[in-house]
Amino acid sequence: MQAKEEQLIRDCLSGRLDAFADLIAPYQDRLYNTLYRMVGHSEDAAELFQEAMIRVFRGLRSYQGDSSFYTWLYRIVLNVAFTHRRRRRLRTVSVEALADGGTVDFADEDVSMRPGRTLEIEETRGVIELALAEIPEVYRAVLVLKDIEDLKYEEIAEILDVPIGTVRSRLHRARCEMKNRLQPYLDRGTI
């Protein structure tokens, strides 16, 4: 852990909230993005972020520095995400249905991400996001950590508290799931 982080943690433990802001600042966007990709909704992500940060603050005293600080942060954030019961259901329209010419109604989705109420199938990003939202949570977690957050297997294993072999296996299955869902788009060359 960097000396600066250590000092900030000490400051936090002495009750300085401003130090906590400085401590989290380098990671907050990545943590928020991880939460957003896990729950698929910005309001939920914001709420969970607050919950996670309160846990982080209160847990600082128990942080022993055994793992790097950011993997410790990710672990808390993902635990919060895993225990979160979504207030809004993720879309259940399958990507295959989209490939057949259907559309998705994103009326309940984050309006900042979905300017319209429907998404045309040609919107590759939307299709990928949808596929990501459809796959099981344990697979989604490793995909987010690896392909979006670009963490190493070892770091992912530490965050999820599983062996590296499990990370490898989940990641493989996750990619197979994604590939199967996106196969029509892969075939067309749009992805």
Binding site: F49, I54, R168
Partner: protein, 485 residues
């Protein structure tokens, strides 16, 4: 009879494959035809020569490797993800009798269920017979070398077969894509990719999925999010006495405010009762209510509004206000901004001319709650249980007749306690204990204009009997209903 048909019939005759009737007819023909007899004799010589050829043995090392690999694959049952090449190898070994009994039984189970596999086994047997029928000439060294090389590579690039490894090849492929394997495993995958177009296709699919994921837009944390976290922490931790905060302009909590909050931590909450009780009672009557937090020094607009408001007070007259000269903490910034209310709910804006909205923005924020009466009662009970506050309905200050009643109550208390009440409301809403969400928004001048127009704010509303103390703040709650109570 054509020559091809003739040879076929003669071959079948030699192999004992003809029926008795066919056999009798052929033997009759043989007696009649010298040519046919000659052809039969030639065939007999070929069969004899072929059957006396020595068996071509697979090199011992290769046979051993293949056998070991097959055994490694078989103990847990035949994996469904076995590749076509591996399956072909297995069937070939079975056709040539190179599997042990247990493995053979498993293969036979598969054969029962698959005509394709049965056909493959027949094909391997025919190939084996043909090989045995070759001349005894030795295989050219270069051909043998090439063959052995290909066999070794086939085994080499399939770690699951060659080494009995537990990881399916696909996982190695995934790890290869992520540069998470090295050494022998990496070389094996690379060799497989060179040899196997199927593997290349799978890797390409994974790669495109990964690239797609890495290019979906990243969401940054909203600017106010961390401030909200710090506010939550401040309210929880200070009230729990766990931290002593230092000033931080970024979180808009004044150092004096914090110091006052900390010093007042253990004081009685009773003196907050008067104003809060009025607020809560009014809340019970409203479907929609709005709380505005004002600075201790009434703003010019508030003063102006107050002077124009006729007095009608249900509660006993309270003592004149005690003006606390202590600078107010800028609680306004401590509340997160949310979407503004619809302007068409706010009435005519003509009277805004005399109002400077920017001067208000720095000292007023409102928290709008949409609550049912049950919600309010529940909130009141919650406050009672956690803050030990008594509610006195006599202090209710009610607005004059109005299509959009406005109720104004002043709270005068320690900032931590006032903040605690407000945060508790928000927290209850967040936990889903209230019927509706709590929204917090910036004040709008339009709303104040509405209040102004309707003479809804009364001077008495700023009166409070609460004692003051250093560090206390004055909070004016403006409760506005969008509908008649």
């Amino acid at each position: 009879m054509g020559s091809l048909l003739r040879r076929t019939v003669l071959t079948a005759y030699l192999d004992g494959e003809l029926s008795q009737a066919q056999q009798r007819r052929l033997e009759a023909a043989l007696e009649r035809s010298a040519t046919l007899r000659s052809q039969l004799e030639a065939l007999q010589r070929v069969v004899h020569a072929v059957s006396n050829l020595p068996e071509a043995a697979l090199p011992a090392s290769v046979a051993e490797s293949v056998s070991a690999a097959l055994h490694a694959k078989l103990p847990g049952g035949l994996d469904s993800d076995i590749s076509p090449e591996e399956m072909d190898l297995l069937l070939a070994a079975y056709a040539q009798g190179e599997l042990d009994e247990a493995s053979s039984v498993q293969v036979e189970r598969m054969l029962l269920n698959s005509a394709e596999y049965r056909g493959a086994v027949r094909s391997h047997r025919r190939i084996a017979r043909a090989i045995r029928a070759f001349d005894q000439r030795p295989m050219p060294p270069e051909v043998l070398s090439l063959l052995l090389d290909r066999l070794h590579r086939l085994i080499e690039i399939r770690p699951a077969l060659a080494r009995g490894a537990k990881r399916p090849f696909g996982e190695l492929l995934t790890a290869y894509l992520d540069s998470e394997i090295a050494g022998a495993n990496r070389r094996r995958v690379q060799a497989c990719l060179v040899e196997n177009p199927c593997a290349r296709k799978v890797l390409d699919g994974f790669s495109r999925v990964r690239d797609g994921l890495s290019h979906i837009p990243r969401k940054s944390a909203p600017a106010a999010l961390m401030n909200a976290v710090l506010r939550d922490l401040a309210s929880h931790e200070i009230s729990a006495g766990r931290i002593e905060m230092e000033a931080n302009p970024e979180i808009a909590i004044d150092a004096d405010w914090v110091a006052a909050a900390a010093s007042a931590r253990n004081r009685s909450h009773g003196w907050l009762t008067l104003g809060l009780s009025a607020a809560c009672v009014v809340l019970a009557m409203l479907g929609v209510w709005t709380i505005q937090i004002l600075a201790p020094e009434p703003s010019p607009v508030a003063t102006s509004l107050a002077k124009k408001t006729p007095a009608k007070i249900n509660a006993p007259q309270a003592p004149p206000p005690i003006i606390d000269e202590t600078p107010l903490p800028d609680l306004a910034d401590a509340l997160p901004p949310v979407a503004t209310a619809p302007m068409d709910d706010m009435g005519d804006l003509d009277e805004l001319a005399a109002i400077d909205p920017t001067s208000l923005a720095s000292e007023i924020h409102e928290m709008q709650l949409t609550l049912s009466a049950d919600d309010v009662h529940r909130a009141v009970r919650e406050f009672k249980s956690t803050l030990d506050i008594d509610f006195n309905p006599d202090t209710t200050v009610e607005a004059a007749q109005s299509s959009q009643p406005v109720f104004v109550v002043e709270l005068h208390g320690e900032p931590s306690e006032v903040s605690l009440v407000l945060n508790q409301l928000r927290e209850m809403s967040r936990r889903g204990e209230l019927m509706n969400q709590v929204g917090i928004r910036k004040p709008t001048a339009a709303m104040l204009a509405t209040m102004h127009r309707e003479n809804a704010v009364k001077p008495e509303s700023s009166v409070t009997a609460s004692p003051t103390s250093k560090g206390a703040i004055r909070v004016l709650l403006v409760l506005q209903s969008k509908t008649k109570p």
